[in-house]
Symmetry: C2
């Protein structure tokens, strides 16, 4: 019978080992010894190493997905939905940094396990349909490719696991706001008269020489 | 003495193994057996598995970095530099998909090896200084945080290794153009009168209820 008293320790040790050594290189012995139990005792809790990976990443992955499902149903303009989705995605990454890093490094886009592919796909489709709605309603640029834009946004968010430091100076909310300013309004300065209009093709500008 | 005739086979087999099994889980035996040589023969070519990782990822990593170094020196407006940097980054990922995937999954942002950290950092700083120049010249929005914007762009680009299929319908150039439209001009539709001005904070819009 599972003994809940050690279960949290086991999941935490597994998360730390998966993050630092990678899932493939981590053995059940590594995890058992980090917790201070025999490897055989692990089988009171799990059948395979995959069960531990699932236990580690399930909560943040579901939290991100459930948040987006709820947001999708709200009556809000698409720009606001993109802002909120970005903020809540990064908040979950910040709060569950080790677990989320394991999910993104080991699972996302790797098509390893059916249940995760389904979650990945649902997340992608929910975000993409916000962008589709934005285009249909005239709020987003008509030439936007919703799938590519969605994958670009998801990439920016998930790439945090490669550079973000939970003990660093930047907080998830500030990063989310900066990302959204770029995704939604673009880098180009609209307050100056120097540059105008949406460029859908590279164009020569006043500064270009020759 | 290295025998160049098998060297390319070895690097290719290593790339494929690193990509599918991960660097940590791949043994030198795996690679030797994929090439059809004895493990001992590998030591004619390399000292450690890290040497093989280096051999696999060095070329695309350097190609991306050298391209950005050259671009940085050109007399072009920052928007055009961002477009070209994006296009050439994605072109290298497309052309060297397996090798680049290994680099990004195993090395980027992981601080594992000094020479790679230095390359990562130089790339980040070159792209960031293009954005800084853009802000200084008034071409980019003054409230942009250049570091966060840079990491957002790099994330979108590198995340391709999680979803891009070299045999799929999308080509790198088309993805680059779509990404740049979003990074530079933003998703918000400027041709309609529905939405205007750069939002630096979440704001209520006409569609918002209650």
């Amino acid at each position: 019978m599972p003994r809940p008293s050690r279960w949290n320790d086991i999941v935490e040790a597994a998360a730390e080992a998966f993050r630092t050594k990678g899932f493939a290189a981590t053995s059940l012995e590594d995890i058992a010894s980090a917790v201070g139990i025999w490897k055989g005792s692990l089988y009171h809790y799990i059948d395979t190493k995959e069960d531990l990976l699932f236990a580690v990443v399930r909560e943040p992955a579901e939290e991100i997905l459930v948040g987006l499902r709820e947001l999708s149903q709200m009556d809000l303009p698409p720009t606001e939905k993109i802002r909120r989705a970005t903020r809540s995605h990064l908040k979950v990454l910040e709060t569950n940094f080790v677990y989320a890093s394991v999910y993104l490094q080991e699972i996302a886009g790797r098509r390893r396990m059916k249940e995760w592919s389904a979650m990945d796909r649902e997340y992608l489709e929910l975000l993409e349909s916000i962008i589709r709605d934005g285009i249909a309603e005239g709020e987003f640029a008509p030439l936007t490719n919703p799938r590519i834009a969605t994958l670009g946004i998801i990439g920016s968010l998930n790439w945090l696991t490669h550079w973000y430091r939970p003990d660093g100076p930047l907080r998830a909310d500030a990063i989310a706001d900066q990302f959204c300013d770029m995704f939604l309004a673009g880098l180009i300065n609209r307050t100056s008269s120097a540059v105008a209009a949406k460029p859908s093709k590279p164009r020569a500008t006043a500064r270009k020489t020759a």
